[in-house]
Amino acid sequence: MSPLQGVNNRIHYGGLRRGAYLVWDRERCWHGEKVGVCIRTEKVDSGIKVDIGIAPKDGGDAVDTLQGEALTEGKIDHIYTVNWKGKPLGKAREFVLEAMIDGKLKEGPSDPLYVELEPPIFSA
């Protein structure tokens, strides 16, 4: 951003963009595993609350939410256990993160996490 500049006796307006980068810490996991949810923010103060939603990549209701995670020095590293038993997941296997920061900054979706919901089938 170039500096805001202007002559006296005027009000000059400028803007900056807040942003966030959110990501699963892996691309694939088994159901029941622990995975990392990572967020890095730009121009968002420490202590700001972040609500994180986990939703099917192709759309649909959130599978789970992490409410009120607080930013510390621009980051959140949360260990999340994939435990969605009984949830109506349908055919969804890829899940993305969406974040709502400070109730207004919506970021995401992240790259998907492929969750192996069925046990592996081995050939005889």
């Binding site: 500096p3 500049q5 900056l16 699963w24 810490d25 980051k75 207004k104």
Partner: protein, 442 residues
């Protein structure tokens, strides 16, 4: 000569000469020598009553002027007289001291008329208004320099400053007005109106000055139009004569100061980027960040992460210092050793300076594999598809050689040569050699 003065002069003359009354001539009632002093206010030529006139010479006398402004010395012997005119305390504040009179020679049998002009002093009013709303500005110190320097004190609630009623008026002449606004440097306000004024005798005009305090205001919002707080800033005054540091409160920076162009530098990193994407193993990459508002020499840290495994910490860190330019560029080379634990095949970096942080876009990492391909013992000229762990790469092989850019972290699963199904193929790469019959495709 004005009518008023002419009448006064005529009145004085009547006292000195004979008067024509038809054909007869009335003899002058004052047969002996005398002096008539006429004290007159300029420029309106009003006669001044009560001025004290002193005669010294062959005959000495002191007297006051009457309502006609005349003091008359009768029956004075001929000779040289010194005449002084003194306005007295009651008139001193409103009139300039009468000029010193040269000695007056009075001949025998004559009467001399001496006109003593006295200038009325000026009592101007200085009015100070706010240029933005025309409202009076109180407490502004007003000084006049020039002919007779004078401090008029502070403006009243009505924005007026003037010579006090009990104080002496101002000598006519040119003056320069200076204003002092409490709590402000002279450079931090502009004045509308000529500062040089000319005060004629008796001037009671009101001179109006409009002052416009100089200020600057910046409002910083985010993409939601919410005002941003907490970001440190550096405010640069006009011509970079001064800087001021602070922290945004309610997204606002307001400063009173001299007129001119201001700059507000927000202390933050506005972007972070790779110079070229995708990255290549063993090829230098440039990481850049736009860093504004920080002092020269501020430490800037680039932490490079596997784009997925942020929690594991950076795969490498590059430190730099901010130079004179508001951006930092560092070079970094991804190597197989540094990325041995990076499984995602892509990198991202954060750059931090002070409390500010920015995140770069994700950069895929490729490794260049030199592939030679022969089909039936001859260098291949064909289309080929490499099936990797997650991706596939399609290319044309010419003269059996191909530089394949393989995403980092992926391994070769199969090779497809659509044009040569069934032929025996040997493939060599940096990681080994494989011989296999090509799959048939339709």
């Amino acid at each position: 000569m004005s009518t008023k003065l002419a009448k006064a002069f005529a009145r004085a003359q009547k006292m000195t000469t004979s008067r024509s009354v038809g054909k007869s001539t009335q003899k002058c009632p004052l047969r002996r020598t005398g002096i008539i002093v006429l004290v007159i206010r300029m420029p309106d030529e009003t006669m001044i009553k009560g001025a004290r006139v002193g005669f010294s010479g062959p005959k000495t006398a002191k007297m006051k002027t009457g309502s006609s402004g005349i003091a008359k010395l009768d029956k004075a012997p001929a000779g040289t007289y010194t005449i002084t005119v003194d306005l007295g305390k009651s008139l001193l504040n409103d009139y300039a001291p009468p000029p010193v009179q040269p000695p007056l020679r009075v001949a025998l049998g004559s009467r001399r008329i001496l006109l003593v002009p006295v200038e009325r002093l000026a009592r101007p009013k200085i009015r100070v208004l706010n240029a933005d709303d025309d409202k009076p500005v109180p407490d502004v110190g007003v000084k006049l320099s020039g002919t007779a320097p004078c401090n008029l004190g502070a403006t009243t609630k009505a924005g007026l400053a003037q010579v006090g009623r009990k104080e002496r008026g101002l000598k006519p002449g040119p003056y320069r007005v200076s204003l002092k606004v409490p709590g402000r440097e002279p450079s931090s306000f502009e004045i509308e109106g000529r500062m040089d004024i000319s005060l004629p005798a008796g001037c009671e005009d009101t001179f109006t000055f409009r002052i416009r305090p100089c200020w600057i205001e910046f409002i910083v919002t985010d993409q939601f139009d919410d005002r941003v707080s907490g970001v440190e800033y550096v405010l640069v005054y006009p011509e970079e004569k001064k800087t001021k540091k602070g922290q945004l409160k309610e997204g606002r920076v307001r400063e009173d100061g001299p007129a001119g162009i201001y700059q507000l530098l927000l202390k933050y990193i506005s972007y972070a980027a790779w110079d070229e994407i995708p990255l290549e193993i063993d090829k230098k990459a440039k990481l850049t960040a736009a860093v504004t508002g920080f002092d020269e020499g501020t430490a800037v840290t680039f932490d490079i992460y596997d784009s997925l495994d942020l929690r594991a910490g950076p795969v490498d860190t590059v430190k730099a210092k901010l130079g004179k330019k508001p951006h930092v560029e560092v070079e970094w080379t991804p190597t197989a050793e540094k990325l041995k634990n990076a499984t995602s095949g892509a990198l991202v970096f954060t750059v931090t300076a002070g409390k500010s942080q920015a995140v770069s876009p994700i950069a895929p990492v490729h490794v260049v594999q030199k592939v030679t391909m022969r089909i039936d013992g001859k260098p291949a000229n064909t289309n080929v598809v490499l099936h990797l762990t997650r991706d596939r790469i399609q290319a044309s092989v010419t003269d059996g050689e191909w530089e394949a850019r393989v995403p980092w972290g992926q391994t070769l699963v199969s090779v497809e040569v659509p044009d040569s199904g069934g032929a025996l193929a040997t493939m060599k790469s940096d990681t080994g050699s494989q011989a296999f019959p090509l799959p048939s495709t339709e």
